[in-house]
């Protein structure tokens, strides 16, 4: 500890602290622009100059380390003169166009100019003008306003992992710009808007639509990936205008992914594929907008009829993993009340053989904040950067700090993380390679090798990963979405669990969706004799209740989902959105609120219970889904539906659990490994593109223009292209055994294993291909 005196007040700070950190610790504000606690120190804005005893010149508080006994004066004449001098320089070339600047009212330069600026400038020369840049569909530029603090540059280089922005030219001609002809395409790009202390980088979707002081603010929780980022929803006239991060060091730190930041546009979507605002029923093949009473009557009769005629088991419930805990809880309660155990929210999962062997609810295995403390990490089956951008970010930082990150996957996408080792194998080989790693680790650790693994040979890649893992003291094995969607997911789970126990490390799942843990807590999984998500589509039901999902895009086999739903006598859909497919298969559409218009709860991947209130009033005639389900329960005379608030529902669903849910356990018992790996043909590697993962983000127009939203292609490596006799860009017909084929362009992807073809799932263009995991026939079109 070091002792420092700031403005006469003494305090103890940790070794290595800077003056600005010490000052902030004691609540003294030092003006600054370039300094940001999560970024490297640039010391270039010079706004934080303070007086340090014995130093002849004012020192930058952001870059000056505290020494024992140091005396600092932040408001002395010398300090204030230096700060005012810098402010004058900052303003001479700044356009001072605050009235037409989107940053007006929330601008650091504007705020500090009030404190440190003069009312008139002595600069009477011509001001600098800097050409604007095209950074893509999300970030808008007014580069003349830029004060060259380089926060955005440091963000792309350090946090996002790739220096997409840089400062070109010298002196007054210095300009922040992307590479020539390039845009900023990182999945975290929106954060540079928050970081920009002036109006140089502003939100393209939001700009000129509202002033910051016109907006109401509500805390909320991201409905997308399993992280559960904390949000500030900003609304005007009950319309979400903007989403900003709510800082939470344990979850999203101060960042948001672009998906979380810009998906709100989908909340305001209109048209045939937009928000569903009125209850609708299909009568005689025609859709009619009706009153809620009529629609609820219709829905309850339809379900009651099927239950009466065919039994409760003839009904299947498909719940979105992005639905709230309350919605899932009521939906499963309703279905069970109707006598059905066919309930599932694990829509993209294809292997359910761990059911009945699971020791508890699958979860991250550790706290999110502890990810950065792991010194050895193996990520299995994950498009990490796109599926979990902020977890990737944490691993990126820990890799820089010396942690060794290894990857076992079927694609070698650049994670922008320095990897210690990697094994890239076809999907069918993943269990075998993971088994090799387990075996190698057992051998290196001197543990007994499991009988099932005795006969396998350890490859060099597996050996390298094993060696990295055993060299650490705090290891973690993380199974990504791809591993969870894998047809041998349970085997991967058993192997991962075994690996972690030999290593004495942690083992967990990277939660795919906002409620991937919450679904288990809400009991939205099949009970005894019930059918899981895949089975209830494979064995078509008479009726389905769909809550918040678009099964054709959200299920592991979209084609089959579509077929079974179309065949069913009655499909009751509770959804915030409509779509053509929905109009085709549904009998009744009940417009329910998206997360922004209802109170609810998400249990994130670390088991943290995060509840939120509605940020806006329900749009049109939409109603919170928990209310709709509650009324349906009443209409169907299901017992125990006397809830008066979503808190009541939550209390019952959680049964006394509060901040963190209990029963989290990734272990599997008495499970037989399935290491078979015989495949004939091209294996499909199916990713869920970041901006197609759920129904909300699919409807966010700006995100849909981003580079990550490109039309799906058939990606393959050079050897596979050669084998097929096609070149990059050629059109190929891709089928999956059935009659349906889709025609796609080929694209070279050197990171794919031989004999695999990567075709994105969750996209209208590829639904016809059926299961995410499949063998494809590919031929030149």
């Amino acid at each position: 500890m070091l002792e420092i005196e700031i403005d006469g007040k003494t305090l103890q700070v940790a070794d290595g602290s800077t003056i600005i950190e010490a000052a902030h610790q004691m609540g003294t504000y030092i003006p600054h622009f370039c300094y940001h606690k999560k970024l490297s120190i640039a010391a270039n804005c010079r706004m934080c100059l303070v007086q340090v005893e014995k130093a002849p010149k004012p020192m930058p508080a952001c870059a000056t380390p505290v020494t024992n006994g140091m005396k600092v004066f932040t408001h002395s004449e010398l300090a204030v003169k230096a700060q005012k001098g810098v402010m004058e320089f900052l303003l001479i070339n700044h356009p001072l166009d605050c009235p037409i600047c989107d940053q007006g009212g929330e601008c650091q330069l504007q705020d500090l100019a009030v404190g440190y600026g003069e009312s008139a400038s002595q600069y009477q020369e011509e001001k600098r003008v800097v050409p604007d840049k095209d950074l893509g569909p999300l970030v808008s530029t007014d580069m003349t306003r830029c004060i060259n603090c380089t926060r955005c540059i440091r963000f792309t280089a350090e946090i996002a992992g790739f220096m997409e922005l840089g400062q070109s030219f010298r002196g007054e001609h210095a300009e922040v710009m992307p590479f020539i002809g390039k845009t900023v395409d990182t999945e975290l790009s929106g954060n540079i808007i928050d970081l920009c202390p002036v109006g140089a980088l502003t939100s393209k979707p939001f700009r000129f639509s509202a002033r910051t002081w016109e907006l109401s603010r509500r805390k909320s929780v991201s409905p997308h990936d399993g992280l559960g980022s904390n949000l500030i929803m900003q609304t005007k006239h009950d319309r979400v205008m903007r989403v900003l991060p709510l800082e939470n060091e344990d979850i999203n730190e101060c960042w948001l992914t672009d998906k979380e930041r810009f998906s709100y546009q989908g909340l305001n979507s209109q048209g045939d594929n937009g928000r569903l605002t009125k209850p609708m029923v299909k009568q005689g093949g025609e859709w009619k907008e009706v009153d809620w009473n009529v629609a609820l009557d219709y829905a309850s009769h339809a379900l009651r009829d099927v239950a009466k005629t065919h039994g409760g088991a003839a009904i299947g419930g498909l719940l979105s993993p992005h639905a709230t805990l309350e919605e899932m809880y009521l939906a499963q309660k309703l279905l069970r009340g109707l006598g059905s155990e066919n309930i599932d929210f694990r829509l993209r999962q294809s292997d359910f053989s761990a059911d009945g062997h699971r020791r508890g609810t699958p979860w991250l295995g550790i706290k999110i904040a502890d990810i950065g403390r792991l010194d050895r990490v193996l990520v299995v089956g994950s498009f990490l950067r796109k599926d979990h951008p902020l977890i990737a970010q944490r691993l990126r930082q820990s890799a820089k700090g010396g942690a060794q990150i290894s990857v076992l996957h079927s694609a070698d996408d650049d994670l922008l993380i320095k990897l210690a080792a990697r094994a890239i194998a076809a999907p069918s080989q993943l269990p075998a390679v993971l088994a090799q790693i387990v075996k190698a680790v057992c051998q290196l650790k001197g543990a007994a090798v499991d009988a099932a693994l005795a006969g396998i040979t350890v490859s060099t890649e597996a050996q390298a990963i094993a060696q990295s893992l055993v060299s650490g003291s705090n290891s973690g094995i993380l199974l990504g979405n791809f591993a969870q969607q894998h047809p041998q997911a349970a085997t991967l789970q058993a192997l991962g669990h075994r690996l972690a126990s030999v290593l004495g490390g942690s083992f967990g799942f990277l939660g795919e969706a906002a409620n991937s843990v919450g679904g288990y807590v809400a009991k939205a999984v099949p009970g005894a004799g019930g059918l899981n998500a895949a089975a209830m589509l494979k064995e078509p039901r008479q009726a389905y209740v769909v809550v918040g999902a678009e099964p054709e895009l959200d299920c592991a086999d979209g084609a089959q989902a579509l077929a079974s739903l179309t065949k069913a006598a009655a499909v009751v859909v509770l959804s915030p959105f409509k779509s053509q497919a929905m109009l085709d298969y549904a009998a009744v559409l009940l417009p329910v609120s998206p997360f922004s218009e209802t109170s609810g709860t998400f249990v994130n991947t670390e088991g943290r219970v995060q509840s939120f209130y509605a940020a806006a009033k329900p749009l049109g005639e939409t109603r919170p889904a928990w209310k709709v389900l509650r009324v349906l329960g009443n209409l169907l005379d299901v017992a125990g539906f006397e809830f008066n608030s979503s808190e009541d529902v939550r209390a019952e669903a959680l049964g006394g659990q509060s901040d963190f849910v209990s029963g989290l356990d990734n272990g599997v018992d008495a499970f037989t490994l399935n290491l078979s790996a015989t495949v004939n043909g091209f294996e499909r590697v199916a990713d869920v593109p970041i901006h197609f993962a759920d129904s909300l983000v699919r409807r966010a127009p700006a995100l849909q223009q981003a580079r990550d939203s490109a039309t799906p292609t058939a990606r393959m490596n050079a050897a596979t292209l050669k084998k097929l006799g096609v070149a990059t860009g050629d059109r190929v017909r891709v089928g999956a055994g059935g009659t349906a084929t889709v025609t796609l362009s080929t694209q070279l992807d050197a990171g794919l294993p031989d004999g695999t073809v990567r075709v994105a799932a969750a996209h209208a263009d590829t639904v016809a291909l059926g299961p995410m995991s499949s063998v494809l026939n590919v031929e030149k079109a």
Binding site: A42, P56, P58, V86, F89, Q167, R170, A174
Partner: protein
Amino acid sequence: MALIDTISPLLTTGWSKGDAGWSLKDYEARGGYAQLKRILSSKMTQDELIAEVKKSSLRGRGGAGFPTGLKWSFMPKAAPEKYVVCNTDEGEPGTFKDRDLLRYDPHSTIEGMIIAGYAVGAKRGYNYIHGEIFDIYQRFEEALDQARAAGYLGERILGSDFSFDLFAHHGWGAYICGEETGLLESIEGKKGQPRYKPPFPANFGLYGKPTTINNTETFAAIPFILGMGGEAYLNLGKPNNGGTKLFSVSGHVNRPGNYEVPMGTPFAKLLEMAGGMRGGRKLKAVIPGGSSAPVLPADVMMECTMDYDSIAKAGSMLGSGAVIVMDETVCMVKALERLSYFYFEESCGQCTPCREGSGWLYRVVHRIEHGQGRPEDLDLLNRVTDNMMGKTICALADAAAFPVRSFIKHFKSEFEYHIEHKKCLVDPEVQRAGSGFFRASSVARVA
């Protein structure tokens, strides 16, 4: 080629043959590489070597004048990977000594760097040569090849345990890359802009490893110092200002060029060596240490001796030893405008006060020169420089401010005249005559 006129040639000994005396055999014939051989064969310790350099009181010849031996002693002993870097960026207007050092005697710098590598325990060195003198860069590469072929560079030099290799790196024409940490960034392939210090290069230098950076002239002096002994070298100059120094004399003198004189030589003597004032005109002002050093009026300058302490006492800096001599035909406003433009263009743009202030200074001076000055402009200029000096990561803001402040301080009446009368105090015809004379004389010199 008789550009050199020294009292006691040391570093410039090898220059007498001009372009014909630079190669390895010439250098060896002059006793070159003898010191390296002596150090390696006698297994001189690093501490002994550094002590000898300290004894010489050699101060960095790049401009800051930091004691070289002390700088070397800062290098952490235990670090496995260290670098020695030579700064031949020489971007300061008026300075051209390092260019000629590498042109006429590149091996003295090479030997100096190898010895420095030995002293600080580095196995690798770089010489950063500014991009405008590409022929010099090529010559240095040639000299490196010669040294490598002769076994002075590479693994186990001359059969000893010491290995060292040296590489040339040319810049692309940025003044700021002469700042040592900007130079390191540039070698690393990044945008050349200074780093915040601390940490200093001795702890966190090239590629984050401990690094010693010295000026070309500093390295070139090392073999000579070791040849004659630190004590003897110090005695060439005066206490705390050891040895000889190269001065690049330019401007309105009859024989502009590089002159090596002992530290402490009177300026009047140096001026005399440079052939005196052209056309017998009156000396008006001198910038004694490169364009960033404050200008001194003739009477002050004529009293100075050429060493760090005397010039500092007079209110300027010896800097890189670039002596810019101005006669009475010079309009000081125009001269300052040119200097301010240089710093405006060369600021790296990193720190606010320099990025914004250098342009402000230039624009105001430009305005005054073009008859649009305002009475309050001189106060404004002083205030702007005040807000720039000492407020930035590196000293470029100070370098931009010093000329402005000193020109106004010493030649205020000329500025006031400009503002009041919208024209130069020095008649434009006289100015033209002065510069015309400069051109004619320059041609004559080369012939």
